[in-house]
């Protein structure tokens, strides 16, 4: 029995805090569907919020777009590798991550090959690689499952199908991101703001790029069951672009961005539940999250403009990004 069924928007939070308090008091930890959703999405938001700023700063967001598309092929590949595990559930974490890594390496390798060896302009090589690999992924899914529904789900995300294993995967990825970003903070900062200098003092620029590729790919894989391959991009870029409007230090941005993502995800889950309770309509949680991120961005823009006209504050000293 789901304790959240029939809950409205504020009741949702009331029940959530009540249950949290109970767990703190020593009640056994059992997660309801909504809580699994919330936890997975929170992990996604944190993971995305930590690498999103670096992707935007290094102008790699369209590359992230490409990685998120090709993670579909990675997951299909993972199925083929571990076809013995095929029973309709996406369970084994290591195999999924392996598939994502292979897809990421394939995408990165092909894109770089196209632009360096074949001398194709960068936008063309990114576009060619990811559309081809994604088409291949869709066709593979249709071939091996005889069911195009799965690829629709991969694009849209389906938070209702999330399970304990998804939570493990996304928590792992979130911790991976937190650990690596903390560990590599100086180098990432240097490489995003002054790459020539970073190279000059001997920071491994290609290694950092590859790390970012792999983290992005892992993040997209962790998120694609929850929000789909495209709304991940909203979580990667949206919170950072919003935070950037009123905050200009990278260290602060790295706190603000995951927080905004977290708020958007929490409200998305709560709204989805309350709309279900009010109208009986299960709306797409990932859609709600994306829409809410857009709303946060727009209101931040509005607030900034009011502030600007009232105080003459000129806002960003950052040139772009």
């Amino acid at each position: 029995m789901n304790p959240y069924s029939g809950a409205g928007f504020f009741e949702f939070f009331a029940i959530l805090f009540q249950r949290l308090a109970q767990v703190c008091m020593g009640a056994p930890l059992t997660l309801a569907t909504d809580e699994v959703q919330l936890a997975v999405l929170a992990c996604c938001a944190i993971a995305c919020g930590l690498i999103g700023p670096f992707l935007v700063l290094k102008r790699m967001t369209m590359f992230a777009n490409s990685l998120s598309h090709t993670s579909l092929l990675g997951v299909v590949g993972a199925f083929l590798i571990g076809s013995s595990l095929w029973d309709g559930t996406i369970a084994d974490i290591s195999i999924l991550l392996l598939g994502a890594f292979i897809a990421a390496l394939l995408t990165a390798g092909l894109t770089e090959t196209l632009s360096r060896l074949f001398r194709l302009q960068p936008d063309a090589s990114i576009g060619l690689v990811f559309t081809t690999l994604f088409a291949l992924g869709v066709i593979c899914v249709t071939l091996f499952t005889k069911n195009a529904h799965i690829s629709t789900e991969a694009v849209m995300g389906n938070p209702d199908a999330l399970q304990w294993s998804d939570l493990k995967l996304s928590a792992l990825i979130a911790f991976l991101n937190i650990g690596l970003v903390l560990f590599l903070y100086r180098r990432l900062q240097l490489a995003s703001f002054d790459e020539p200098f970073a190279k000059a003092i001997g920071a491994p620029a290609n290694g950092l790029r590859l790390t970012l590729f792999l983290l992005t790919s892992a993040t997209c894989t962790g998120a694609f069951r929850a929000v789909g391959v495209l709304v991940v991009l909203a979580l990667l870029t949206g919170p950072y672009l919003t935070a950037r409007l009123f905050c200009h230090r990278l260290s602060h941005l790295l706190i603000w961005t995951p927080c905004i993502g977290l708020v958007a995800c929490t409200i998305g889950v709560a709204l989805s539940r309350s709309i279900l309770s009010w109208t009986g309509m299960p709306l797409s949680t990932s859609g709600l999250i994306a829409t809410f991120i857009a709303l946060i961005f727009l209101s931040a823009l509005f607030v900034r403009r009011r502030k600007k006209t009232r105080t003459g504050w000129t806002g960003s000293a950052l040139p772009a990004g």
Partner: protein
Amino acid sequence: MNYFTDPILRAPTIGCILMCVAASLMGVVLLLQRRLLVGESISHAAYPGAILGILALALLGPEWEEYSFLAVLIGALGSSWLGMKAIERMERKIKIRSDAALCFTLAIFFGFGILLASWLQESLPQWASQAQVLLFGQAATLTDEHIMIYALLALGCTLFILFAFRPLQALLFDRGYSKSIGINTRSFERALFWLLLFSIVVGIRSVGVILMSGMLIAPAIAARQFSNHLKTIFLLSALIGALSGLLGNVLSVEIALRYDSLFLPTGPMIILVSATFALLSLLFSPKRGIAFRLARLASFRLRCLEENILKEIWKRREIEFAELKRHYHPILATFVLQRLIGQGWVDRKGGVLTLSDDGQTRAASIVRLHRLWELYLTEQLGWQAEKVHMSAEEMEHILTPELEERLTKLLSDPQRDPHAQPIPQKRPVL
């Protein structure tokens, strides 16, 4: 089976071809403006509008269901226009880098589309199938009305490019120049913008929102490999687009007929076919193709090796084959030696290699180039004599007979190089 006359297959086939032609023409424009990924954002931004169109039709006039494609078209046009405006504003007003603006816009619009789609699914389930089609496209259910629109669109794109070719060319290659010679760049860009929106929005029905941008990219890339002339690129791109539309459609139908219940979606098939074309032309196009480039490089390296070995034998009069193998890669050395013997430049007696008369001439001419270049560097460019050897090692393979003649004249037919070695005299090469 005839794909052009069969009443069921006719519409998808012709529809796909026309749609692909229009998209690949616009793709060339984007390729040259280096904005190919804009197509990705536009096609995703069209999704919520298309669903709103279905919603509006379902709520306002459900009796006009057969015109739903028009509602989809209008809605999609509206929202992709909005998406483009949003990207523009983000870039200009709040200085967001263009890739981040593209990515953010496409994710937000698509997310909103997902929200609307889930609402449609729940509240008006009988209309939901129309929304699902938009994701990956469904060419099989195209009708003759669609063809009319696609034909108009393809015709529009072609006519625009035909009649405005000159100014378009100027605009694509040098915007500032075309402005200065009085071309109205603003209205041209606006016209291109609308054609682009139309071609993407219309293609969504058969290829789907997610993969539509691939239809713009691949044919243009393929065509670009073959030519440097804008006209040829446009023509080729349209041709490749049309072929991929046809082949993708035919493949999808044939596979469904051969293996029942294996319905490979047409949109991804078309994308795969056009990507195959792009890949093949990247590999094998005569001028830019990687295969020919690598072959040219390999043949140059081989010639250098041949000439170096000839030179080596010339300097020592004769050389042990075993020693040659120690100096160079043994397999390569054997291969090159076979060629040299085949050409009659080298004689092999036992393990000892000597030059034939022709070989002597050939080797002497290489050494002559080497020493001429050394002399040129020291006498004319003031290099020190001990530094010129490395440069001459490279130049001896590159200098042409004309250059040799000029050098001889410039240095007034010298006899000795900077290291006091004799420069072999020019003899006619047989």
